[in-house]
């Protein structure tokens, strides 16, 4: 990228004073000789002024919000699987765990050699199943975004080793595996044999 374009990109942070020494010197030097960037700087200063104009009173009432928060805090456990406003991935995992539990209990009461149906979610016939492991630090919301895309069914997970099993319907799944492997959030993905 040429210097002019580089400087143009850095102007907002030149204005808010957060550029490192080298970048600041670069911008400062270029501005002395470039009228176009000087004009850009004026625009950025105008925008900055709008953001930093004297603000109206704080939005919302801190006292009321604080009381609600304090009450919620008293009932919120640390490291709970269930956040109060729950991520979709957590809810799905809890649902799957619950279904497996009910199925396991149901099987205790089933007569021998009787055909029965369970409430558990069976894997669709001939469905391709992927095994996915996410990188450390990936948020539950991000995991949910990947696992809960239309057409995908979360079958189980995470296992003790952090493996999620996801049904993606019929089809070889190679293309999806390639795409997911390129996702920086994914540590490992392969088609289950």
């Amino acid at each position: 990228m040429n210097q002019h374009a580089t400087v143009a990109e850095l102007l907002p942070w030149f204005v808010n004073g957060t550029l490192n020494e080298a970048d600041h010197a670069l911008v400062d030097k270029h501005l002395k000789v470039c009228e176009e960037c000087q004009s850009d700087l004026e625009q950025v200063l105008e925008m900055s002024a709008m953001f930093n104009a004297e603000k109206s009173d704080e939005i919302g009432t801190q006292n009321a919000a604080r009381k609600k928060f304090e009450a919620a805090l008293a009932h919120t456990k640390k490291d709970s699987l269930f956040e109060p406003y729950g991520s979709s991935a957590t809810k799905v995992m809890a649902s799957v765990a619950g279904v497996f539990f009910i199925a396991a209990v149901s099987m205790l009461f089933v007569p021998d050699e009787t055909t029965f149906t369970t409430m558990s979610r069976s894997e669709p016939n001939h469905a391709t199943v992927l095994q996915i492991v996410f990188r450390d630090g990936v948020t539950e919301d991000s995991i949910g975004d990947i696992l809960m895309t239309e057409g995908r069914i979360l079958l189980s997970g995470p296992s003790r080793l952090g493996v999620y099993r996801v049904s993606i319907g019929s089809g070889p799944g190679d293309e999806l595996v390639r795409k997911l492997a390129e996702d920086p959030r994914v540590e490992f993905v392969e088609v289950e044999e």
């Binding site: 143009a8 990109e9 850095l10 907002p12 942070w13 204005v15 808010n16 004073g17 957060t18 550029l19 625009q43 950025v44 105008e46 925008m47 900055s48 709008m50 953001f51 930093n52 104009a53 004297e54 603000k55 109206s56 009173d57 704080e58 939005i59 919302g60 009432t61 801190q62 009321a64 919000a65 604080r66 609600k68 928060f69 304090e70 919620a72 805090l73 008293a74 919120t76 456990k77 640390k78 490291d79 709970s80 956040e83 109060p84 406003y85 948020t139 919301d141």
Partner: protein, 186 residues
Amino acid sequence: MPKVNAQELQLLKATISDDHGAMMELYDLYYPRLTRFLYRLVQDPEVIEELVNDVMLAVWQKSAQFRGDSNVSTWILGIAYRKGLDAARKMNRYRQILGQFTDITSTESASEVEKINADRDLNRLLGNLSTDQRAVAVLSFEFGYSYPEIAEILDIPVNTVKTRMYYARRTMQSSLAKEARRGEAP
């Protein structure tokens, strides 16, 4: 420029040991900043209070996950950004742009009216941006974060921060120019 804040770090560490008092102190410290940031992002004042509490409950629950390799503020704002992004996606942006603000009553002083109008103008300008662009603009201009810090908060590469800012500036500049032309029209 936001620097490492020893007090905030101490408070966050205390919350790991289930210190409710420390958590409430952290809440009081962050309430103004979070309401301002989420308001800019989501542009609906009615949901801000619940969102702020949602963010701080997540901070409480996840405090043990804070690795200490970033500022407390970038970590908390990262959580706020993800919660705000989810909330903004669910809303109709056109509805947000129209009259989501408090009415000006006759008891408002002239200076308060000016402040409210200035705030409303800025929000209208920001309403033309995507949520991602809005986040970059607000974190830079209003909160004074550097572009590497913004990259950390939003969990995106630094070049993506610069690109989003470029498009945000272009859109805002275009909106300002249109408003100026409207103002000049007979």
